[in-house]
């Protein structure tokens, strides 16, 4: 509460003294004011404040006038020209009448105890060194849930901050903490109440400390998540970019039937397992009949515009069985079929390759892929296989000039899942994993002879345009 009477008001805050006055509206308002002062400890004359002599404003800063421990009499006189209209006098002792800012309190509370830290506010940084005795002791008031109060004294002892522990508190109870300076000052404001509830198994923080867990959570949880997302994005594990493949490689998801380019005929290729056939030729003269038969069959297939993989021996892992779409095969009724393309290869047979000791089927492989055709895969029983070109000789079955030797080169490698169309003598092709049942694999041209054979064949696949799918793929 500032010192005031009806007219004068002394507002003193942290030894900053502002004297102000205000007359009632009914009174005659003076034109000038003069502030004077004297002390009580000696018989001395009144002295006018230099900065507040004949002033028109209604306030005067007395900070530089007053000494801390002296009792002053202060007078404010109002004049109208030279006539004194009013004079007010009041007593003021700065050390007891100034209002000091309360100490600042920080609280950190546990289950049944609290840590209270008291420190100086910034506004008292200068004063605390001049009047140390005023700030030597702090009173902490603890108000409990049952409205009882407890006061604790803390000695600052010239320290900037002091921390005490208040224990033996009741859990699940509400407490409020405030602090004030223990001085002889008439007005001792208390710090704002800080209330909290002690809960079991709870370690709570003051408002200053609660920010730390948030900072740690941000650093150690959110940042790693952000970095992980960025890494996954970079590696395209998520948010995969749409790669723009050449149109020829743009396979649709549904393959309705056999692949067919409208402008190309389907060319059949006989695929014969190469290595095994060689062995057969060298070792099994006894089986020459069957082999010959199969070979012959192969040859026939050349003319028949179809191909059938040839099983090398009974012991081979693959058991090939020729399957004609027009024939009924009770053993293979479960296997799905593909409709043969509407070409002059009506007699083309389709086969599916199936690993294991069971009857295997050979999926038809078309050499051309229609860009507009929709494919649907019904090859639940089909395996995608790759034909190793190194073990096969791909030729136009319509070409009679295909030599037996060349035909013998077409061999299926002994592999369960992958059949690579690879010419081991020349170029090694990458394994093609796409289903050959419904998709057209991309043949590799093993030699110039193949081209010449295909070119001269009337039944060869003719293409109006070349499909350039890279250096490793066939040009038609």
């Amino acid at each position: 509460m500032p010192v005031k009477n009806d007219i004068l008001t002394m507002t003193s805050h942290n030894f900053q003294h502002i004297l102000s006055w205000k007359l009632s509206s009914n009174a005659i308002i003076p034109t000038h004011y003069t502030v004077s002062y004297t002390i009580m400890s000696a018989y001395k004359e009144w002295k006018a404040v230099e900065k507040c002599t004949n002033i028109t404003k209604s306030s005067c800063n007395m900070t530089d006038i007053y000494e801390t421990n002296e009792t002053y009499l202060t007078s404010v006189t109002g004049f109208n020209s030279k006539k004194k209209l009013f004079e007010c006098v009041f007593e003021f002792l700065p050390i007891t009448d100034t209002i000091l800012d309360p100490p600042e309190v920080s609280i950190f509370y546990f289950e049944d105890a609290i840590n209270v830290t008291v420190h100086f506010p910034e506004s008292l940084s200068i004063i605390k060194n001049k009047e140390k005795e005023l700030f030597s002791s702090v009173v902490i008031k603890v108000k409990s849930h049952d409205m009882s109060e407890q006061e604790l004294n803390i000695e600052m002892d010239d320290r900037e901050n002091v921390t005490i522990v208040i224990d033996s508190l009741m859990p699940n109870s509400n407490y409020c903490i405030s602090a004030h300076w223990e001085t002889f000052s008439n007005n001792v404001p208390h710090s704002p109440l800080k209330c909290f509830i002690l809960s079991p198994n709870q370690e709570s923080e003051s408002e200053e400390i609660i920010a730390m867990p948030l900072i740690f959570a941000t650093c150690f949880i959110i940042f790693p998540i952000i970095i992980s997302v960025i890494f996954l994005k970079k590696t395209e594990y998520i948010c995969k970019k749409k790669k723009h493949f050449p149109k020829a490689l743009d396979f649709p998801s549904i393959i309705p039937g056999p692949l067919q380019l409208p402008y190309e005929k389907v060319t059949r290729a006989d695929v014969i397992e190469k290595t095994k056939k060689k062995k057969m030729f060298n070792e099994s003269d006894d089986k020459s009949d069957s082999d010959n038969e199969s070979t012959q069959k192969i040859e026939n297939n050349y003319t028949m515009n179809g191909f059938s993989p040839r099983s090398l021996s009974q012991n081979s892992k693959f058991t090939w069985k020729e399957y004609n779409s027009n024939d009924s095969d009770p053993d293979e009724t479960e296997s799905p079929e593909f409709d043969p393309p509407a070409t002059d290869t009506d007699s083309a047979t389709s086969y599916q390759v199936k690993s294991g000791p069971d009857e295997s089927r050979i999926c038809r492989i078309w050499s051309n892929l229609s860009e507009d055709s929709n494919f649907s895969s019904r090859s639940e029983d089909c395996f995608n296989f790759n034909v190793n070109l190194s073990t096969v000789f791909v030729g136009d079955p319509g070409n009679d000039t295909t030599s037996e030797e060349d035909a013998a080169q077409i061999l299926l490698p002994v592999q369960e899942e992958k059949i690579n169309l690879v010419n081991s003598d020349e170029i090694e092709l990458k394994h093609i994993t796409h289903a050959t049942c419904v998709k057209t694999p991309l043949f590799h041209v093993p030699s110039k002879d193949l081209w010449s054979e295909n070119a001269s064949s009337d039944e060869s696949v003719t293409s109006e345009s070349e499909v350039d799918l890279g250096n490793d793929y066939i040009r038609r």
Binding site: T38, M40, S41, A42, Y43, K44, N69, T71, L73, V89, E91, L93, I95, T96, K132, E133, S136, S137, N153, E155, D157, E182, T183, F184, N186
Partner: protein, 187 residues
């Protein structure tokens, strides 16, 4: 021989511990009582009438009161005791309660009396210690002369209300310095 010196050392440490504890409690107590005394004096003073300005007096307060930082805690205790004793005698004189609620005066005197008792207990421990220091006789004389001047002033002013107002203002200043002197009691 060795046992005797050891015993003296133990006793010295014991008294030092007791005295330090007693000084801490004394400081705590003195701080509270001085605060109360200042409040009561403000009550006595009330509103200063401008007519009392003519009775203002410079009692020439001695440097022993004005410069409390010069004292060690033992000497500060003696100065405090001497001042309290003189103030007690001052406010026990004639017409001290003139224009003042008598209850305030009685409360004020009771507080001073209790303060002196606490100080005397601390002073007795100081007297029993080896190498105890005593306050300079000249300093005590200065304090005595100061309070005698106040007494003479009251007598000259015939214990008027304005003279008592002036004395109350001066005593309030005494207790402000006493409050600062009390801080010298800490270790």
């Amino acid at each position: 021989m060795a046992n005797r010196s050891t015993l003296q050392l133990v006793l010295l440490l014991f008294f030092a511990y007791v005295s330090s504890e007693s000084y801490e409690s004394l400081r705590f107590y003195q701080r509270r009582t001085n605060k109360s005394s200042i409040y009561l004096l403000k009550k006595m003073i009330g509103e200063l009438h401008p007519e009392c300005q003519k009775d203002r007096m410079d009692f020439q307060i001695p440097k022993e009161i004005l410069q409390p930082k010069q004292y060690q805690k033992e000497n500060a205790t003696m100065v405090i005791h001497e001042m309290l004793q003189q103030i007690f005698l001052l406010f026990s004189s004639k017409n001290a309660s003139l224009g003042v609620n008598n209850t305030i005066i009685e409360t004020f005197l009771n507080i001073i009396f209790q303060q002196m008792e606490h100080l005397e207990m601390a002073l007795k421990e100081e007297m029993n210690q080896v190498n105890s220091t005593r306050l300079n006789e000249e300093s005590i004389q200065h304090l005595n002369n100061y309070y005698q001047r106040i007494m003479n002033y009251l007598e000259n002013k015939k214990y008027s209300s304005c003279s008592w107002k002036i004395v109350q203002v001066e005593t309030r200043l005494n207790f402000i310095f006493l409050y600062k002197l009390t801080e010298r009691l800490k270790n």
